[in-house]
Symmetry: C2
Subunit: 205 residues, 2 copies
Amino acid sequence: MNTSDTKNKILDTAERLFARQGIGATSLRAIVREAGLNVAAIHYHFGSREALVLEVFNRRLKPINQQRVARLEELEQTRSPAIPLNDLVRAFLEPVFSYFYDQPPQVRGLMARLHTEPDVTRPVLQQYHEILQRFQGAFLNAAPWLNPEQVRYRMSFMIGSMGIMLSGRHPAFCGKNGARLKPEQLFEEVIQYNTAGLSAGAPKK
Amino acid sequence: MNTSDTKNKILDTAERLFARQGIGATSLRAIVREAGLNVAAIHYHFGSREALVLEVFNRRLKPINQQRVARLEELEQTRSPAIPLNDLVRAFLEPVFSYFYDQPPQVRGLMARLHTEPDVTRPVLQQYHEILQRFQGAFLNAAPWLNPEQVRYRMSFMIGSMGIMLSGRHPAFCGKNGARLKPEQLFEEVIQYNTAGLSAGAPKK
DNA sequence: GTCTATAAAAGGATAGAC
DNA sequence: GTCTATCCTTTTATAGAC
């Protein structure tokens, strides 16, 4: 079997189990059992459990954040200096949405965990600190009535609601509630909600 | 030592470690090591690891949700039939805030995890399903331009941003950003953000 | 690159003394 | 109610054959 085939199989399976059972609760053995491999394969390809965890997240985050930057730069060139908040929210969230659109639900749920599992949040997000800084600057430009701390917190709120969207667990009502919005509709809800949140306190024009 | 003393000591320690390391990653042995007890104590008081996990969450959620209901009922009596959205958001979030205000940061971080760790979300939230239903009805009344699904999702977004607030990890920038809002200011930010989000799409008056 | 086999440690749970 | 001692399972990690 090809190197990258096995590697991807491990990453796919780990991702699915992390999303389903939690990261700390998922053993390497559970992963290889479901992947039809053996423990040694993981150590060969990743070196340690911790390195595997980071790779699972980075594999998804890298292309998403590249997309985010590309869209931000496009906005800066075409709509500068006054980029509408709604466009910024879309530039930040749409790459997530389009990337995970055709992924199984469990895989989407992984992203929600990124911001709450303490051993993951720090090492992963440090890699993307610069991107967040750039968005913070853009949001601050677009919402000059806010101070930098407010912008940072509101971005965090946006990230929180994004996690909820991705988790698909719909935590307010994880029971048996029939009708669910279609993914596209749900996404528009998220955009609308967070654009309104970020716009809160704006001076009337 | 008194029964409830030991029980609380276990709950306190477990809570702290769950918040710090994640739930699945925290062993019973780690808990009792830090609490100065032994594994048998946990099984005596809680029966199993799983039961302990549920108790850790329910100990906090029970008083919070009682407060929520009390405040909702007060609003229904004093401001019915048209309860402002802002009051509903406060009725839902303020009990969380006031309850955790004087708790150490790690303990607050636990609530953030409630909505993402899959083995916890379901069993815990099922107990409070009725309360969420009541709030959903109230929000639907206060925002009649939304349909029930929209209300449910927006409540979930609110819960997501609340989790971010509680986590204290400020995931957008977990690096070394100097100034932080005071807790009260942060709370007002959350209220404002989510009131605006829930109000999105409201007809102009 | 992938496997089996195995080492060494840590996990949850229980029995029985006090 | 709390402890020690113990059972059995599972874990991460490594060594060495193929």
